[in-house]
Amino acid sequence: MIETKHVSKVYKMGELDLEVIKDLNLSVGSGEFIAIIGPSGSGKSTVLNILGGLDIPTSGEVVVDAVNITNLNTTQLAHFRGEKIGFIFQSFNLIPVLSVYENIEYPLIMIQHLPPKERKKRVLEVLKEVDMLDQKEKYPDQISGGQKQRVAIARALVTNPKIVFADEPTANLDSKTAHRIIELMHKIKQDYNTTFVFATHDEKIVSSAERLITLVDGQITDDKRIVV
């Protein structure tokens, strides 16, 4: 599903070159539930961004679903993300002027350009999946943090992505809500064989992950599979 070969990322900090990812070689299979852990500044989010086609590596290759995304231009990358990737953010990032229903529908209209009937079917399906059907008319400022994250998950899933990248998805949630969100993502993974890759500090995600990749100073120091 994902293959990285000798990926590195260097940021220019004035006169200095800061290498945040060093020679990353990683292989992610279909339907995996992976947590990338490591101290702050270890490069977790950067790895997620590079794998998701949000950021371009300074060197190396990233192949996702047989597409070498390092060769794509901005528009092609946007198209690639819209078709194959789902993102879940720490602070949900819902569009405040759109209702719950419209937020979820957004990628189907603006990115995948699906016909109305198909859109409605898919949106109602994911709303049901995240148990937010009764909240669909509300706006983001009218629902709780946990509900917002459910909507964000629904929005990430509505396009039927092969991979979902989630950067600290439970960081802004209370413990009980975080548990329910993790359970929800597990269920989706099982139902749709969706690959989940998390960048997280959250023990709850770590303990539920099937694979743990530890990153220190931009390098993988540990990569282990956990048998549940």
Partner: protein, 412 residues
């Protein structure tokens, strides 16, 4: 596109106070331009109509050199029969010409038996004059509209006031003819002519047959031929159709005729040009208002929504769609300002039209202006506003589309 419009509309609604303020600014600009345009174009149309329809006509033909010495009212620069016939060859059957009239212009002494003064006179063919200058009759005061007959004259208002001459009074006109002999003629004052701005605006009038008699003219002879064209907007084409007259030369190889459009003869045309310049200046001010206010609001909008832009970009929204989103917001602001501004302007102009604006121009007073809003003005101003709104949105829209999603998502 429907969804882009929906999102753009809601984004504008999100900062409703700012949106209203910007839209209000554009609206005020549109009102200012449209009301000014309506007033100035009505004023221009009124004054041009007054000048061309009551005194000057649209085109005048003279013997070469006449206009240069018009202040002397030279009788030796009149057109003779042969020359008049040449002109008529061009005027008759000319598709642009509605009508024409002949005048003899002369200077003389006017006396009411008590005192006398200098007077400038136009000797006219009343029937042709009425056809060529349909508003001329409106200038005649203290008289029922009627065609001037032989033995009658119209005197300028200033002279009438200065000498205490009234309608019905008898007067004597004394003139020198081309040969230098002095001749006199009794004429009855049948009306007072209101002054009008421009050359000839304070002249008296009498019948062309009386002029021939007093000047002892045996052969047809005129000082000027005044032409009314069918469509004023086709003035350049009409002038072109008569250009062949300018090429006619006399035995000495010099041009015989000179043709002048009213724009060259009346100083009011310079005022028209100044009004047009002010019109352009005001439109430039409107463009600046729209450009600055929309640029300002769109730049603020991009900065406020960086994270949101990062989110939609991360989800896979193509840069072109992000550009469209912001352009639509600017476009909607422009459309709103143009529509509301046009409606309010229409109401304001209707009110002014109903009330009427009294004004004085030069020595003319008590003029009443009834402005009207032209559809072409509304369309022009609306197009300017909308196009400028789009232009002002281009830079912020591209800035938004070029944002790196990773950097944008880091913003709080």
């Amino acid at each position: 596109m429907k969804n882009i419009i929906k999102i753009a509309f809601r984004n504008l609604k999100r900062s409703s106070r700012r949106t209203l303020l910007t839209a209000a600014l554009i609206t005020i600009g549109v009102i200012f331009v449209l009301v000014y345009s309506a007033l100035s174009s009505s004023f221009k149309a009124y004054m041009v109509g007054e000048i061309t329809d009551s005194m000057m006509g649209h085109i005048q033909i003279h013997k070469k050199g006449y206009i240069a010495s018009v202040d002397n009212l030279p009788l030796d620069k009149n057109l003779n029969k042969k020359q008049i016939d040449k002109v008529l060859e061009v005027l008759d059957d000319n598709p642009y010409v509605e009508s024409y009239t002949f005048r003899i212009k002369l200077g003389g002494m006017f006396s009411n038996y008590v005192s006398s003064t200098n007077i400038r006179l136009n000797a006219i063919d009343p029937q042709k004059e009425q056809k060529t200058l349909p508003l001329f009759e409106k200038r005649i005061q203290e008289s029922e509209p009627h065609l001037l007959k032989e033995g009658e004259m119209l005197i300028p208002e200033l002279l009438a006031k200065g000498m205490g001459v009234k309608k019905g009074d008898t007067s004597v006109l004394v003139v020198n003819n081309q040969q230098g002999s002095v001749n006199g003629l009794n004429l009855k004052v049948v009306g007072i002519v209101a002054p009008i701005s421009g050359p000839g605006g304070r002249d008296g009038y009498f019948h062309i047959e009386d002029a021939k008699r007093i000047l002892r003219i045996m052969e047809p002879e005129v000082s000027e031929i005044v032409i009314r064209i069918k469509d004023v907007s086709k003035l350049p084409e009409a002038m072109k159709s008569m250009q062949s007259l300018s090429t006619i030369k006399n035995q000495k190889g010099k041009p015989v005729f000179e043709l002048h459009a009213w724009t060259k003869l009346s100083p009011f045309y310079n005022i028209v040009k100044m009004l047009d310049l002010m019109d352009i200046s005001i439109k430039i001010i409107l463009i600046s208002i729209v450009l600055i206010s929309i640029l300002n609001v769109m730049i603020m909008s991009v900065y406020e929504r960086i994270k949101e832009i990062g989110t939609i970009a991360a989800m896979g929204t193509p840069p072109s769609t992000i550009v469209k989103l912001f352009l639509t917001e600017g476009f909607m602001l422009g459309v709103f300002g143009a529509i509301v501004g046009s409606i309010i302007s229409f109401v304001i102009i209707k009110v002014i039209d109903t009330i009427g604006i009294s004004f004085a121009f030069g020595r003319q007073s008590g003029l009443v202006l009834h402005p009207s809003l032209q559809g072409s003005d509304i369309i022009t101003v609306s197009i300017i506003v909308i196009v400028i709104a789009l232009i002002a949105s281009i830079s912020p829209a591209f800035k938004a589309a070029k944002l790196n999603p990773v950097d944008a998502l880091r913003q709080n």
